[in-house]
Assembly symmetry: C2
Homo-oligomer: 237 residues x 2
């Protein structure tokens, strides 16, 4: 990045929630880029995401000074800066472990490639899956993991393995020198401090949805009760 150097070294890492919102800002900036916008305000950036403009400014200020007084944010510059901050201004080769339904779904997931994440190696320990071919890649046995990730300079691994083998597989990929693990198994795993771990628990968004639906229904039933109350009063009157 030219201009403001985002995230001077020594800064503490941004909380996960901030990084998550910055990912959303990038997606919204890309919408504006496709529509040909040159600049946006924090309200225009946060509005479609239901994020307040003060939050947008605070989140971005975590990484540097990106706004221009009287202009707002330059769409192309901010988009490039966020890609740099997130580390997705370059490609990341990925190893995928586990070629069950979830693994095969992840392999076809369109959202990864457009963000620079390329699955370049497949692994499984099931003899019926080893040697199988998916999207031009051959499934290799876990014994080959170390050699493949070293020669391919692969630093990230996605684990789409059953819950009861997640920790064992994590230990194997850590031993092979993997720096970051995205764990889709619905169990917590532990890794040494020098390895970064992000767990994806698919029931969390579902709980968020249940919360929202329940709230809407509570409000509806309150509104209904008030209406019924009002009609009762009408009848008495």
């Amino acid at each position: 990045m030219k201009g403001s150097r985002p995230e001077p070294s020594g800064f503490k890492p941004a909380p996960k929630a901030v990084v998550g919102r910055v990912s959303l800002y990038l997606r919204q900036l890309e919408v504006y880029q496709r529509q040909g916008w040159a600049t946006v305000s924090s309200s225009q950036l946060g509005g479609p995401l239901s994020i307040k403009n003060a939050q947008v400014r605070k989140d971005l200020a975590f990484f540097g000074q990106f706004g221009h007084p009287g202009v707002g944010y330059r769409v192309d510059d901010l988009s490039a800066a966020i890609r740099h901050i997130l580390g997705i201004d370059h490609d990341w080769p990925l190893a995928l472990v586990g070629l069950g339904n979830l693994g095969r779904a992840l392999l076809k997931y369109r959202g990864f490639r457009s963000r620079g994440f390329h699955i370049v190696a497949l692994f499984d320990n099931d003899p019926t899956k080893i040697g199988g071919r998916h999207d031009g890649l051959v499934v290799e046995p876990m014994e080959a993991f170390g050699a493949v990730v070293t020669s391919g300079k692969i630093r990230l691994a996605m684990l789409a393995v059953p819950a009861d083998s997640a920790q064992r597989v994590a230990d194997q990929v850590v031993a092979a020198g993997i720096r970051g693990i995205l764990n889709f198994a619905p169990v917590p795993i532990t890794v040494p401090p020098q390895v970064n771990l992000v767990g994806v628990d698919l029931s969390i968004p579902l709980e968020n949805l249940a919360y929202k639906v329940q709230r809407t229904e509570d409000e509806d039933s309150c509104a209904g009760a008030i209406e019924r109350g009002a009609s009762a009063t009408d009848r008495v009157r």
Copy 2:
């Protein structure tokens, strides 16, 4: 819930980030329940999740008063209160639309059932999939959606359909009276305001991981540079 009534009606809904963290607190409380703990402090609750105790207290205060002076939080009570807040103190029947790899992976996902989410109906519009049987359920055509969700009192739908049919399928499930949609297609969809929508973008946790790994490597290379600098100095001296 007896005692403190969480979330008096009229309260504004909690932000998604707060609800997400509350889901994590519940998971940590369940760990403590299995270990037989009776009470926990906010530090004990947040610590294993790398969430500061002030944040834990602030998040929970959004929904009511749960702590007891000199005691902390009662594990069983807080766990029950959170389940009530999230609306998962009762079961939710779910419809799953799309029986591709992702749909079949979601059907087998262990994390849903333990949270009270039960997939009870399957739909697809692919004639080769309709009539197929998975986990004791038969895949039905989308034309049957309205009748099935009405008779089964199903209010939530998970969409695991290709990006280019996501909006059309969303329109169909909305027309059938679904109250909440969990969208796994990597495209934004729009729904009327009375329908709740949560999108799951699997590239967001991957971006979070890339950010963390890049930061670790930046720190390592700085440390390396300092070490190399130090040895150079040593040699000069």
